[in-house]
Symmetry: C2
Subunit: 396 residues, 2 copies
């Protein structure tokens, strides 16, 4: 590896604490109505004031997590609490069904059709409960968690447009996110609940979506009975999503003291990085088709920030935990690509959307889907793992 | 203009009848289950067998329309009837609520949430009723038309994810399509019904979505009370959609003998072509943002086949009907771009999806949204207008 460990640690530290976090603290806090602006242009100016619940929850989580894990800085707690208050008052329908989006002043815009609004609200209030010891936040987290478990079988509920009975597909995203979420709120769950749900989610991810007959790659959608389906959704591949899931599994492997999970996750992450890498222009494709058919998503060949940050996390964790040199090679490859293409060299925060060639497609720093989450979480995770490696004497 | 009228007429005729229509007749007919395959690769091989009702209806319409307007060829009627039988049996829920998609053998996949499945079914059975004189087809067209009118106020029905009352937007697509549909089924409507609905749809398009305060450009979404909304949907621009609508208005202007409609439509089409043209790489953008903010659609800068075919129709009609030379210049510019970039020089039919630079993004000839419709309809319309110009002595 051409990089030096101490320099890398400092690079990630400085980027996170001196550039990215100040960007969000300065630009995203809505001092009038609470909550956060996430639609921020290249320089941080607000271009749209709608509030998307995924991103509101994720920003509460991020600042709470830093408060819990890095240092009890008042400004981080204040930032988290301002978002949590807004979410608590305006984010759900009274029964912990979280809207998809609301107006700046908190009027509901898009109904609670999207279960991931719930998962990110759970994460948010779970971490903030830990930071504050506040029982109300704890109970919001647990109530929302219970709603998630209730809705698992039919996450879209009445907004589900699939005709029942013809082709019941199940999707990788929910068990994958739940593998992370259960660790995020483990301080609120008793050990038997943790064990039961974890076994369940892990079974889905490991035995259903990772496919040995395809060499161990990860599918996004399979039929209810676990078989593959030769349709657009059934052929749909999302390499970044699969790679992200693998560091969730590595974390679970450590928590449950199951090293074989870590090995499997590391191998799967390597396989999916190899699968998704664009050999012509570099970077990892957004979407692919299992059979090489034209995908239905027109943005399939774009390079997205989160895919690359999540890959860096999985690869550096994989290296630290298993010593597999291929992880280090992949970490370096994706690190070099990401810092060259996603980092904005003139203004703080990273670009989110590049075209296939790696040129900036949208100059925004935040929008409907990009908020204060993958960039700071990725920088935090890589910084933390690099520091652990230094303490443990693991060389690059 | 550098093109010769006779050569152009022959170019469009040959492309339509000797290349594009044979492609669909040879590759899209499902001889086992009826209906059409539309997911066809570059060479015409089926890569997915799901049947999307928009495209099933549009192909029935296309072959019926050619039978009615060009020549009563049995193979065209057979192709139309094979699709119509499948649609009649499997395309709706028994009450003329047309599914969005069904399996190859006709099992419902995606529920009737999309009102455009109804509009294209109406078009299909309306033209086929004209071709065959069959009362059953006529009644399917009229029943479906009545469902469309009933659903106009809340087209998505129970699948609408917008929270009622916060921000009621209305969309350009439905009145725009209805301006065309009412002419497609005029032989089934009495004159007072035609007049009443036409006045209504024209009012929506002309007085609501064309905005004089913005220099006469066309918005895609406005609030219920007709005011603009500064949100993603409210800033959303779709130049190709607006330009397509303008030839529907020109046709209505002729039908209703209202030349001022033709003038307005021609000027609006010119304005939207100017607005949407990519001055760096050529071609018309798919989506834009009124205020130049980053659009939420990641495919915004791509160049789509239908946008360019519809623009050619509007420009050549605009020139024929008004003599405005700017229309001819625009026709030539878009004709040159389209034949250079969308026409596949090695295999029949045209590419559908190009990246911003005009390079092929997906090599398919048909898919979930591209079927036997915009390419052959565009070639037919341009060919027909060019022939009329020749008869009328209008020069290029």
């Amino acid at each position: 590896m051409t990089h030096n460990l101490d320099e890398l640690i400092e690079q990630y530290r400085a980027e996170l604490f001196d550039s990215v976090l100040p960007f969000w603290l300065e630009n995203s806090i809505d001092k009038e109505y609470g909550g956060y602006f996430t639609c921020l242009d290249r320089q941080g100016k607000v271009f749209d004031t709608d509030k998307f619940i995924w991103l509101q929850g994720r920003e509460v989580w991020l600042f709470s997590m830093l408060y819990n894990n890095v240092a009890p800085r008042q400004e981080w707690l204040d930032a988290a609490v301002s978002g949590a208050k807004f979410l608590k008052e305006h984010g759900h329908d009274g029964n912990f069904n979280w809207y998809f989006s609301v107006t700046r002043d908190g009027k509901p815009l898009v109904e609670p059709y999207n279960i991931f609004s719930n998962t990110f609200a759970t994460m948010a209030f779970g971490q903030l409960a830990k930071a504050t010891g506040c029982k109300e936040y704890e109970s919001i987290a647990l109530n929302t968690w219970n709603e998630v478990l209730k809705r698992r079988e039919n996450p879209k509920g009445k907004w589900n447009k699939l005709h029942p009975g013809t082709r019941q597909l199940k999707n990788f995203a929910l068990p994958m996110i739940l593998c992370n979420l259960v660790l995020e709120i483990q301080h609120l769950l008793d050990e038997s609940m943790l064990k039961k749900t974890t076994d369940d989610f892990l079974h889905e991810v490991l035995d259903v979506f990772i496919r040995p007959e395809l060499g161990g790659i990860v599918m996004e959608n399979v039929l209810e009975d676990g078989t593959l389906c030769d349709c657009f959704e059934g052929r749909h591949m999302n390499p970044g999503h699969a790679i992200e899931a693998m560091w969730f599994i590595m974390d679970l492997g450590r928590r449950l003291n199951r090293p074989e999970l870590i090995e499997l996750a590391k191998d799967t992450a390597l396989r999916m990085a190899e699968y998704g890498w664009d050999k012509e222009f570099g970077g990892i494709y957004y979407f692919m088709d299992l059979k090489g058919c034209p995908p239905q998503e027109l943005e399939w060949d774009q390079k997205l920030w989160w895919v690359h940050l999540e890959t860096m996390i999985s690869m550096i964790k994989g290296y630290r935990l298993t010593g597999d040199k291929r992880c280090l090679e992949w970490f370096e490859r994706v690190h070099d690509y990401a810092w060259e293409h996603f980092k904005d060299k003139e203004y703080p925060e990273w670009f989110g959307y590049l075209n296939r060639r790696g040129e900036v497609l949208l100059p925004l720093k935040g929008g409907k889907w990009k908020g204060c989450f993958h960039v700071p979480r990725g920088l935090y995770q890589v910084w933390t793992v690099l520091k652990e490696m230094k303490e443990e004497g693991i060389e690059l």
